[in-house]
């Protein structure tokens, strides 16, 4: 069986259309994950032992659930629980967002903890108000530490969004499988998926590398 290059080029337009849906759902899921993750991370720093432990446990469980299972659950069981009819895109975004919250909370936690305690202490000694400590000193440093991990995780969410094809979301993987189911040639459409993914993800990861390298130079020279 030979690789049919003309088939590959023929499906790329369909795949690209699916890619738009992929990017849309990924962005929504990632936003949900970031907001929820931020909340979890802040709660995990609470002095209240119960809250801290519960939050950490929630994060741990969220990270351990396989994405496929979570997607399946939100699609088939959540509507019965909530009583609403939810589309595949919404369910997918919710499922990936919930799991993502677990990962983002770890990333945010790591970022905040990487800010040297000396900075915290100095800022408190200078009697800066808490919100200013956060906004001007802690978060900017934390964000720059978190950036590679955040970009990484965004690409992970994008890769996981290919699982949504199974619940009818017309994303790039769906377009590939549909084509494959009709003529039995799966290699060409899936290669197209890989190419499109690469085209989107590679520039992002290169950007991340460049920014980190630039920062390393800056901090080294301090």
């Amino acid at each position: 069986m030979n690789f049919d290059v003309s088939l590959l080029f023929g499906i790329l337009p369909e795949l690209a259309r699916g890619l738009l849906t992929t990017l849309f759902v990924t962005t929504i899921a990632f936003t949900l994950a970031s907001l929820a993750g931020l909340a979890l991370a802040l709660c995990s720093r609470s002095k209240v032992g119960m809250l801290q432990r519960t939050t950490l446990m929630i994060g741990s469980v969220a990270r351990s659930i396989p994405e496929l299972v979570a997607i399946f659950w939100t699609y088939y069981c959540l509507p019965n629980v909530v009583g609403l009819q939810l589309s595949g895109e919404v369910c997918g975004a919710l499922a990936l967002g919930a799991i993502g919250a677990g990962y983002m909370s770890e990333i945010v936690r790591g970022g905040i903890m990487a800010v040297p305690t000396g900075d915290w202490e100095a800022a408190t000694a200078l009697a800066l108000p808490r919100w200013r400590i956060w906004m001007r000193i802690v978060l900017p440093q934390a964000l720059s530490r978190m950036r590679p991990a955040i970009l990484n995780y965004f690409t992970d969410v994008m890769k996981n969004s290919t699982l949504l094809a199974g619940i009818g979301v017309a994303d790039v993987a769906y377009a590939a499988y549909l084509s494959g189911a009709q003529d039995f040639r799966y290699l060409e459409p899936l290669t197209g998926v890989a190419i499109l993914f690469f085209l989107v993800v590679f520039p992002l990861s290169q950007l991340s590398r460049r920014l980190s390298a630039a920062e390393a130079i800056v901090t080294r020279s301090l």
Binding site: M1, N2, F3, S60, V61, R63, S64, I65, P66, E67, L68, V69, A70, F72, W73, Y76, C77, Y103, E106, G110, T155, D156, K159, T162, A173, Y186, L187, L190, T191, V193, A194, F197, F198, V201, F202, S205
Partner: protein, 221 residues
């Protein structure tokens, strides 16, 4: 309720087998990548451009494409190009090791990079050779710093084994799908499977946490 217990009993062995297969791929993937990522991470830091670019290309390919596509490629396209045909279990193991090594190497790199330059200089001034200071100083610390990220990767590996079902590897997800098709009862079996994965994931995380605590220098040391 008795029906549920009866079904659980009837399909329990199959689910257990599936779990064992999942675990065996987990072990192969984690051991393989933990070992191979070190030379890869060191190779990525080399000054020789051709090697570094080649290794970078490998890392970028495996990090920027979905695992499903990688599996299909290794199983169907590789034989076309190189003439080496692998069986489904071989392809699955190979794909897992290749992708996990790519991710693990980046984690190792970050760990190595965060061991401060000052320590290396101090070691040199104390007369430790380059190789010694690496082995005794940098690598152990880098490993400890990288442990949380390694833990996250291992849990991700556990979940990634579910993708292997496309090649008919009889791991837990495939067994569950098959049972749910056969009995037309998806909710029960997918719930059971979800619980198993969560438990396994928590066990892995806990082990890594314990390892972290064990390796962190405390007041007694």
């Amino acid at each position: 309720m008795e029906d549920l217990a009866a079904r659980a009993l009837k399909y329990g062995p199959a689910l257990l087998n599936g779990t064992l297969v999942t675990l065996s791929y987990f072990v192969v993937g984690s051991v393989g990548s933990l070992l191979l990522a070190l030379p890869l991470a060191l190779g990525l830091r080399t000054r020789r451009r051709p090697i570094r670019y080649l290794l970078l290309a490998y890392v970028e390919f495996f990090r920027n494409t979905p695992l499903l596509v990688q599996l299909f490629w290794l199983h169907y396209a590789l034989p076309m190009i190189t003439g080496i045909a692998t069986t489904a279990p071989e392809t699955a193991a190979l794909a897992l090791v290749l992708v996990m090594t790519a991710y693990m190497a980046e984690v190792y790199r970050a760990g190595i990079g965060s061991v401060s330059q000052g320590q290396l200089e101090a070691a040199q001034s104390l007369g430790l050779s380059g190789r010694h200071s690496w082995a005794l100083l940098v690598l152990p610390q880098a490993f400890r710093i990288a442990l949380p990220a390694i833990g996250t990767l291992l849990v991700a590996l556990l979940k990634a084994t579910t993708v292997l079902s496309i090649l008919s590897v009889p791991e837990l997800m495939r067994v569950t799908t098959r049972i749910s098709n056969y009995t037309a009862r998806p909710a029960e079996f997918y719930t059971m499977t979800a619980v198993v994965y969560v438990l396994l994931g928590i066990i892995v995380s806990r082990c890594i946490h314990s390892l972290e605590r064990y390796l962190t220098p405390g007041p007694c040391k």
